[in-house]
Structure formats: C-alpha cells, structure tokens
C-alpha cells in the first residue's frame, strides 16, 4: 500500500492538493447525482449514496479506476465523452467540479470519510414529537414510548421517566416486549435513509443488537409470542424476518406489491400475517417464509393489524376506514371472492385507520384512526362500547395494559393519554419527552 501511494505521489505531486471524497466529492454526488442514482431508482444500476456502492459502479462497470481519471466512467460521462452526458438533461457540472473529480481519482480515489461516531448524539426536543409507537410491559409497570431518535421508558402512569434508550433511527414506528418482559424490540429508521431493528435489554437499558436494512424505515415490527422471531414490513414491498437471539436475518419475502405497514404473528408463532398498502394481508409460514394464503378480500389499502390474544383471528384496517375481523386461516380450496372467513365488519371510522389493538382479555378491540377518537368495540357483537376522546388530531398508536383495564394512546399531538377501558375516562396524560430549553 505504501509503495502505491509513494509512486502516486511521484506522478501527481503533493498529496495535500488532492480533493477529499468526504469534503468535496460526496457533496457534489449528493446534490447533482443521487436523485437518480439512489437505491430506490438505481438508474443504470448505479447507487452513489455510499462510497462502497459508488465504487462498485453500475451496469457500465466501476464508476472510477483509481489513478486513471480519463478511463473512469464518471469523468467520461461528466465530460460528455460518453453519452448521454451527465447530469442527464441538466447543465454540465462546472469545470472546477469536474476537475475535483479528476484530481480525486488521479490521487487514488480514496474514501476519507471519518468513522461513524461511537455514541448517538442526545435527542433534541424543541417540541414534543409525534408519537408513533407505545406499549405496556408485560408486568404492567412500565410503558415504552417512541421519541425522537430514542425510546423512552416511563412508569405506567407517566409519573416518572425511567430510562432513555437512544439510537440512530430517527423514528421508532413500533415497539414490543418479549413475554417475560426482558427484551424490548423496536422497528423504525430514518426516512429515505435506512431502516433499523433494535433489540434492547430492558433491565440494563442497553442495546443488545441492531440490524439495518433497506433504505427507508421499517414498519409494523412484531415479535413472535415465543420471542424467537421478529418480522418487519418495508418500503421496498418486502417483509424481513430476524432471529431475535442473534439479530440474524432469516429470510425476506417479496410477494407484496406495495409498502408493507403491519405484521402480526399467530398464537403458536409458526405463522405471521403481513398487511400492506397493496390491500392484501398475507399469511406466511414463519419458519420458511413460504406464502400460504391471502387472509382477506382486497378492499382498501391496509395500515394496521392486531390479533386475538388466544386465537388465530385478526382485525385489520386502513384507508377504507372499516375494521374487518378475519379468521387467520383461509382454506386453500376457497374460491376467489368467497368471504366466509370474514367474522365481522365493524363500524366505519371517521378517518383512515392507523392502529389497532385487541385487549389481552379478548373483550375489546381498540380502533385508532386519523380522527382524534379511539373507539372500543366488543368483538363478539361488533357493538361500540366507548369512545376515548381528548386528542387533538390523528392517533398512530394504541395499546391495552396487560390486565385490559387501561388503554394507552398517542399520536399527532405528542401526548400520551391513558384511559380507563370501561368508560374511556382519562386516567393520565403526559408529554413523554423532556423538552429542550429555549423552545421556540
């Protein structure tokens, strides 16, 4: 390596003059190129959003040959030596910018980006963020709430902030406790950048494992009842399944045709259902990832799903505003348009359905929608039992307490509200984040 560098020095003169990838090149790529050459579109199979991907190049070969600017595809495209000249249908880069690329490649095309900071920086709260996920711990003592780049553990009545679990994902879209309460899993990420699955040790508030996947947040992360697996939905229409113990990805499935926004496992952890904006809820064999059957008849786009505590019955809902209760199993020999596995269709909500939960005692289903109301239904009769009001805008997360007496809700207005499930009387309400001083 040293020999190479020395010889390069001999050719191009002092190294100090060489442009920096981090300082010079990457900003140009970001501004001028990555609109098309990004993981989501990958024009010519090229992705310039990371150094590794840029180096790998696209279908015309590597993007650059270190030390040989004139033979490098990047230079040839930028100068128009290869057609079409890049950036496509835009003015050519300034001569000085092309020279930066040329000099950087001539100097060896090195990646001088600083290593990632070891600790995530502390979250800032100018205002309370939108609440996207919350869940009671199995012992009912704690409630986990999504924050900005962190998860917050509160005493169940909101009287005390117990722990802050800071991470890199800006948004936490789902949280779940293991049955023994020892593990907390979370799914989320940073929009248009990366998705992340986190596994926390609750007692020590330490991140045990995390896995990054896709180039957008992951949705509807769920933990199998036996805690063996984690399923997450993705913006690239896939569902990924991880082994909880190792954080290893077991498989991914790609039979949805739109974003997958919710997942839930069956009672025996052997199957799960994924619900998507493509309107389908798909039943999947959890050990192999094999597609078994569509659970529902396709109606509106689906946002949320929840399961009966002891039976393989699910409630799902979305843009169409009706919650549907379906048997999870749909016999293979059923004909298309046969809807006999539909148990019940609940009342139409005042907005698209965002979140659902089924009480642990099986007597209530909570339906949260874009309207500011959470409705509680008796799943046996479909009758509305209570309406919990008080939020000022849409609700994104609902969770029953383990004893089914309380319901926690959170959404657009940034406040956690805890209701009595009998009559929807408000028990507690609190802002779960410490607001920064100097808030505008």
């Amino acid at each position: 390596m040293r020999r190479v560098l020395l010889s390069l020095c001999g050719i191009i003169g002092p190294l100090a003059a060489a442009p920096s990838y981090y300082r010079d090149i990457q900003p140009i790529l970001q501004k001028q190129c990555q609109g098309c050459h990004q993981p989501a579109s990958k024009a010519s199979d090229l992705d310039v959003t990371t150094f590794e991907a840029f180096e790998k190049g696209g279908k015309r070969g590597p993007a650059f040959l270190a030390g040989k600017p004139d033979e490098s595809a990047t230079i040839r495209y930028l100068t128009g030596a290869m057609k079409p000249r890049m950036p496509l249908a835009q003015p050519a880069l300034a001569e000085a910018d092309i020279t930066l690329f040329r000099d950087w490649i001539a100097a060896g095309a090195k990646n001088d980006s600083p290593a990632d900071a070891t600790e995530p920086s502390a979250a800032v709260y100018l205002q309370p963020p939108v609440i996207t996920a919350l869940k009671f711990s199995p012992d009912g003592q704690t409630i986990a709430v999504s924050g900005n780049r962190e998860i917050l553990l509160h005493q169940a009545d909101g009287s005390k902030l117990l722990h802050r679990l800071p991470g890199r994902a800006e948004r936490i879209l789902s949280v779940a406790f293991s049955a023994d309460g020892k593990l907390l899993i979370a799914g989320g990420g940073t929009p248009a950048q990366f998705g992340e699955v986190q596994v926390w040790d609750v007692a020590s508030a330490k991140l045990l494992r995390s896995a990054r996947l896709t180039n957008d947040t992951v949705f509807g992360a769920s933990l199998a009842p036996d805690s063996s697996k984690i399923a997450v939905g993705c913006a690239d229409n896939t569902v990924h399944v991880f082994e909880t113990a190792t954080g290893k990805e077991l498989y991914k499935i790609g039979n949805h045709e739109n974003w997958v926004l919710a997942t839930v496992f069956g009672v025996d952890s052997k199957r799960f259902v994924s619900a998507s904006s493509d309107r389908a809820a798909k039943l999947i064999d959890a050990s192999s990832g094999a597609f078994l059957e569509n659970v529902n008849l396709l109606r509106g786009e689906l946002n949320a799903i929840a399961r009966h505590p002891k039976k393989d019955i699910v409630v799902l809902g979305g843009v169409e505003r009706y919650p549907y209760i379906y048997l999870m199993d749909r016999p293979r020999n059923m004909k298309i348009a046969d809807d006999t596995t539909l148990v019940r269709k609940l009342e139409r909500q005042d907005g698209p359905i965002n979140a659902l939960d089924w009480s642990p005692d099986a007597t209530r289903i909570a339906v949260a929608s874009q309207s500011a109301v959470v409705n509680l239904y008796d799943p046996e009769t479909g009758e509305k039992k209570a309406s919990c009001t008080g939020h000022s805008a849409g609700i994104y997360s609902v969770a029953f307490s383990p004893d089914s007496t309380k319901l926690a809700t959170g959404g657009f207005d940034g406040k956690v509200r805890i209701y009595n499930t009998k009559d929807c009387s408000l028990l507690h309400s609190f802002i779960p984040v410490p607001l920064s001083a100097g808030k505008p």
Binding site: A40, Q127, V130, A192
Partner: protein, 724 residues
Amino acid sequence: MKNRMTRLPLLLLSATLALTAADPSVTFLRDVAPILNKTSCTSGPCHGAAKGKNGFKLSLRGYDPQFDYEALLYDLSGRRFNRAEPARSLMLAKPTQSVAHGGGLRFDKKSPYYTTIYNWIAQGVPYGDPAKDTVTALEVEPREVAMAAPGATAQVKVTARFADGQTRDVTREATIESNSPTVAKVDVASLVSGERVGEATLLVRYQGKYSTIPVQILNPKPGFAWKPLPQNNYIDQHIDAKLQKLKIQPSPATDDSTFLRRVTVDLTGQLPSPDDVRAFLADPAPSKVKRDRKIDKLVGSPAFVDHWTVKWSDLLQSTRKFLGEKGTYGFREWIRESLASNKPYDKMVRELLTSRGSTYDDPAGNYFRATRDPKPTMEKTTQVFLGVRMVCAQCHDHPFEKWTQNQYYQMSAFFSAVGLRPGYEVGEEILYDQRADYEMKHPKDSRVVAPEFLIASLTPTKIPAGPQRRDALAEWLVSKQNPFFAKAVANRLWSYFFGKGIIDPVDDIRASNPPVNPALLEALTKDLTDHNFDLQSLMRTIVKSRAYQASFVTNEWNALDADNFSHALPRRLNAEPLMDAVEAAAGARPNFPEVPEDTNASQVPDPHVGAEGFLDLFGRPTRESACECERRADFSLPQALNLINGKTISEAVADPKGRVAKNVLAGKTDSAMVDDLYLATLSRLPTKGEAETGTKYLSGGPRTLRAQDLLWALLNSKGFLYIY
C-alpha cells in the same frame, strides 16, 4: 450513509442559530402551499400526478390545500416532518437533496423557501385560517402592456390580497405564462419582452386565483395614417376601434362576385349557380343594397336550413350510432324544423334539455341518448351551450379557471336522475327522471352532492328538491342574465363566418382565454339577447358588416394580422359544401346509398351515409363528441391525391349528363364554354387572359375531353377549394 450521520447535527446547529424568536408567524395556507406550487412539487409529472410520486401524493397544482396539508403531516404517522428537530424533517431533506430525491434539488438550505418551511415546522405546523389566509384576489401591475415596438420590456408585479385584507408581493411565487411566447415572452423574474408585432395574453396564477394581462406590441414602422373605410354596422365600429389602436389598416370590401361566392357558401353551403352570378353582377342597384338584399334572401332559404342542420346535428351528436336510424331521422327533422321556423335559440335549447317520454314522440330527447350518463351529459351541455369545458374538473379543480371539482359534481347532479329505458317499439327509448339511487356522489368521500348552478347568483331560479331538476337548469342556462349562454353562441356563429372565434377555440371560454375584441363580443351578445335569441337576425348582421365582406388582399399594415378581422382569411370548403360544389360545378347528381335520390351532401342525415368516402376524407365529423374540433378543415396529401384522380372528381367531370356534355350538345362556343366553367367553379367570369388561354386550349384538340380537362383543372385550383 455513515458520513451523513455525523454531519447533520452541525447543519442542525447552524440552521437553529439562524432562526430567531422574532420569526414571523407562518401558516400552511399563506406561506407553505405556494412554495409547493412554485417549486413544482404539486406539478403533474411530480407529486401532483394522479397517483402521486414514490408514495407521496399532493393535489394537482395545489388545488386542495387541506389534502396537501394532511399528506405532508399525517401520512405514515407523520413521516415527513420532525417537530422535535425541524431540520431533520424529510420535507426539508428531500427538496434540498440531503437525501436522495427523484425530483432532484428544488431549493437549497440557504433559500428563503427552506427558512419558511423550517419556521413553519418550528411553529408547530399551523394550517392557518381559511377566513384569513386565503387569497381572495390578485392584483397585477401593469393592467395591460402596450409596447411601441418589439424589443421593449416591461416588469410585471403581482400582489396577492388575502381574506383578512392584507396584501403581499408574490411576483416571485406567482406563475406567469404567455399564450403566445413568439409575440411576448416572460422570464423567471417576471420581465415581459416583446418578440414581434402582435398580441398576447399573460396568464398569472397564484394559489387558485387567476389574472390576465393583455400585451400589445405595436408596429414601429413610421408613416401609419388611419384611412377610414365605410362602416356598415356596429361590428365595423368595434373592429375599426381596435385596428386603429393597433395601427392596422383594414382591407376594404371585396368585389361583388367574390362576395357572392363567400356569402352563399357560408350561409347555404352551396355555390352560387352561373345564373346567380350573372344576375347579381348585372343588378344595377348600389353594391351595398344588392348585397343586403341577397343576404336577406339567402338567410332562411331551404339550402340555408340544410346547411345549418348539418352544423347543429354535429354539435348535438345526431348519429345512428347512438340514436338508431329512426332516431337519427327524427332528431334531424326536429333540428331542421327548429331552424326552418327560426325557433328562438333559448327555446330550442330549453326543449332539448327538458324533453321527456318517448324519443319517438319527442325527438328533442335524443339529446340525452348520445351521452346517456349524467357526467358526460353535463360536460356536453356546458361545452356546447356555454362554451365552458368542465372535463378537467372531474378529477381536480380546473387548472386555468375558477371551476372547482365540487362544481363539476353540482352541475352533474342536475342530470343525475335522468334515465333511459327501452320503449315499446324497436329502438324506442323513454326518457324519465326517476333513476333509482339518483343522487350524485362526490368521488372523494361519496357524500351526496346537491345540484347547484355554476354561477348561482345570476338568476333567482329555485332548484326543486327531488329528482325533477333539469327544468331549473334549463331555465338558468338559457336566461338572458347568463353571461355565457348568449355569448357562447354569438361567438360560435361568428367563427363560422370568419374561420375563427373572437374567443378561440369557441368552446373553451375561460378567463385565461380572453376575447380578442371584448367590446365586439359584448355587442354581438347584446344584439342577440335584444332580439330574443334570433340567430338568423344575428347572422344577417354579421354578414352585412364590412368586416365580413372584406377582401383577403392585404396591405402593408394588415398583412401580419390574423387575429383582428382586418382582412378575410381564406378557408378551405368544409366536407359537405366541397362535395356539393364539385357535383354542382360538374353538373353531376349526387349519388349516396340508402337515401332518396338527389340527396346532396348537406342533406345526408348522419355520418353513416357515405362513410369512409370523400366526406370523411375532407374532415366530416363522426359526431362522437360535441367538440367543435371534431370537424377538420386541414389540407392533406390524401385529399390532394383524391382531388387529382379520385372517383368523386373523375366521375363528376366525365358525367355523360354533366355540364360539359350539356354544353357540347347545346353547341356552345368555346368562349361560352370557358365562361360557364369559370362561373360554375370559381363563381366569376374568367379574366381576359384566362379566357384566351381557355379557348385556345379547347380549340386545340377533342373538344369534350379538353373541356373536361379544363373543368378538372379548375376543380383542383385553390380558387375553387377555398372561400376567400
């Protein structure tokens, strides 16, 4: 990826520092929505597309701010903004390309747009109060632009007035477009530059409000002196007033034979016969007197009724494809009768819209059989009778007009109860107003939309509850107070005589498509309502004007003008008049299948007759839509080839009982033969040179063949194919 994580906090810090507590309050309605429009987020190819882009949908050109607000803030649990740390919001990262954005860089972190959106998020994303933050009016400066010569420039300033009375300079955010960039163009800084002599209209748009600025670029040539010409009626006064201002000298009235040909074809679709021409030229009365007399004779004549029956049958879609054979004949007869009796236009339209029962008993009901469903019927009704195109508003608010999607459904609701069911006879249909579940539903949320007039304040007409609603619509539509109804038909009639509407296209009347001579159109409209919608009266007034009778020969001042009716514009004969002209000139008899003998092209009932033949080639409309644009007046290579050696021409020319054969049999001299052929085709006598060339040619070989050759050559001449 790694790099970004470490860099962002720095950016965040700088952005936060840049903002002070004194930042002005920002609302979505007043401040943010215009940015989404100006930076093209809401444009058709981007997030304004019907399905949005990459999972993010906004309303097209931001016509529905409430929808856009919810999409930005509520979608996917508030994914696009970060209230805790505004600088980390996706809606700032994407347009600044801090993360990959398929739409590229829209603005950078230093731009005022970034600051506005940042402040808006930091202030808690307030929507704003529609009662305060809605734009109520646009004020443009200057109101009109007049340039003394091409090359001049003018700065446009746009001020928005809000519902709370405040105003704001929105020149930067408003969209300004020229309808004729070759005349006047606008740059990003709203600077207008005159490109060539002529007129253009600038359309200024901002947050659903529109304004227009007329631009005139005058001819800088020195030496213009207005030479007044005789004015026959108010039409000439209005036209001259504008021409004088534009320094355009109109052409004087054309000669008698050109006038006779033009007016006969325009009013009746037929050429004047050689005898007509001779008699008219021989009439010693003063030109104006005999012209007026001729016009009075032609208007209302049987050929006139045939000709206008074709026009109205086109617009009302009379074709057996929709109506069946019997239905078509019935509808045509109803149209014919209405025109022959000069039924007032308001009465005619009212009958069309309010007909009930069997379409065999009341053929006016056929109006509903081509479109059948409420929405297309509403689109047709507004386009044909009001000149207003509502079709864009089916899916979103009209991008260039004030019409909203709501209004589309309110207007459609007038027809929502109209049903058609089979009658007792074959092909009979019964029109009724009790369709089951007849209420019009809004596509967005399926709510029932009650009927409401496009401009409700015009008339005190009450809309009854229940399904019988279209009578109220008819009453509102044909009212003299309705500014569109009379104007639309006056403009449409005008276009038939000048080849171009005062508003053009005639069935696309909107604020952004202003009349070229508003005073003229207003006067015509008033004339029509003053005469109780007497269309024949208006036609007589139009063709009696000097402007209609003007020569197509131009002078140095009006050669470039094609918009202000300063001279005649040659027009190709339409399909039916052209075919009838060929037959009449050649002395042949028309020969259509399935119709009585001697039915000519202007008398065939619908496009089924003679389909795929000469008429269709020359642009006869299929009557599948009510758009004026269905009739084509272009000139194509297949048409030219057909005229050279097509069946229609060659058979007519060589007809053994035709004009040439008869003249030969009658023993006409060469000179009389040439005269007759010129009169029959070009409606004038040959010039001396033409006569000499013609007689020389006839005497140089087999006479019949040579006379046929001469006739063929005349039929292929521009003088025959065009009205000029």
